[in-house]
Amino acid sequence: MSGSTTELNLSTAVDADDNADYLTINLANSLRTLDGLFNNVTGHTHGGAHQGGPVAPAAGSITSGMIADGTIVAADIANATITNAKLASDTARANLLTNGGFEIWQRGTGPFTASGWGPDRYYLSIVGTDTLSVSRDAANALVSGYCAACTFVLGTGGGTSNIAQPLKLATEQPNVRGRTVTFSMSVKCGTANAVRLGVSGDGGLVSVFSAFHVGDSQYATLSVSVAVPASATFINLNVLFAASCTAYLDNAMLVVGSVAADYAPLHPADDLARCLRYYETIGGTNGEYLVTGQAYAATNALAPLRFTTRKAVTPTVTFPTGPGGFQCYGAGASPITLTAISGGGITPAGTQISATVASGLVAGNATLIFPNTSLGTVVVEANP
């Protein structure tokens, strides 16, 4: 009698009297069984992992740690498959904001302490008994240039006082509608839970907020993403103040997508050009010829003034000094101080300057109008 192995049921000799059958029958069969395991006839290809063949890991089982850093090349990635959510913040993207770096302060360097416009395209909304003072600041700017230094004292505002950049989607940036955008800004503050970002708007948009700055007196990038409703007509990109503090704001970005983008400074010409779409000061140099006009009476002249940049809407035109800051030439190039000046026929591209003098013009003659003081400016303001 023979025994058998447990796994393959191979025969084993048990005692001396079964040697003959064991050797001639059972052992032969056992060897055939073993041979069959390594025979192509049975499907054995020597390609299995246990035989040193290629490893075929289960689908989805390869993790980042199994891939050597820096070995994945572009050819390994299918075309047009990298989504915005996979981008790091240092992937440069177009900034939809104006004056994101707080570099342009055409209305002055502050302090701005009342509700109204401050740095170009940023509007202060001071609620209740809160106070907010915003000034241009170089000492605390991130990297270089300027930032906005904000000193806030909480009163009854309940965390709603803010400085914000409004975007008019209906008339200015309609393509933002129906997209997810991310608003981010570098903020430095020494008070915890005092400053955060928020996005508000209409069209059913539910206001969303970033986390508060932690108050470690270091710059940190706050960000908040929002899906802008297709019916929204505006959104406000807010910096909200909820506790008394001094905060520094710099490097704001608004990008399409759900991932914040690091601030990418514009060329200064482009930075200024964006701001000039909404606010512009013309003149301001004593003796600089501002416009050439035509006298149509001994006391009146008209002159067309083209703006440097076409405005977002038909602007308000202001002469800060009034007529006293301007002169025009009479027939003999003798300067005549104006007695009245105003804008008229204003379009987004330019304005007509209506100048009045006591006497000295000749109807039909040309005349030059110019500031006679550095304060003689024309201020053009269009806030959509």
């Binding site: 209305r107 109204g116 038909t314 602007p315 308000t316 202001t318 804008g343 026929g345 204003i346 269009a382």
Partner: protein, 118 residues
């Protein structure tokens, strides 16, 4: 910045501020003037405000609202309701006509979407 309206009073006067100089005050109704054209007629698309402080600053406001759509448009509505429109087509009154006329002019100047609901 502009000599800008911040409040409208029952007598037609307008409270204004001129942020740049820190000036503020009230402009009497009679001094809230339509812009004058070369032929001496008034233009219903523009209103001229002089700083009440006497500094000489003057701002010409377009009916679209210029620097402040809400207050700028409202200034035209208030003036038209009180005096009728400079064009002569809309009489003074508090019915819907003055506001509708101003809204029409806003749309003509800056396009649909500029109008701010009062």
């Amino acid at each position: 910045m502009s000599v800008r309206p911040i409040a409208f009073n029952a007598d037609g006067s307008v409270d204004v501020v001129y942020d740049e100089m820190g000036h503020s005050g009230t402009i009497p109704a009679a001094e809230v003037q339509w812009a004058t054209q070369i032929d001496g007629s008034h233009n219903h698309n523009f209103i001229v405000l002089h700083c009440p402080d006497g500094c000489g600053a003057t701002s010409t406001w377009p009916v679209g609202g210029g620097a402040d759509a809400t207050m700028g448009q409202q200034m035209f509505i208030q003036k038209t309701q009180r005096e009728g429109c400079a064009c002569g087509n809309v009489p003074a009154g508090t019915d819907a006509l003055p506001e509708s006329h101003v809204r029409l002019n806003v749309n003509r100047m800056d396009g649909a979407g500029r109008w701010v609901e009062a």
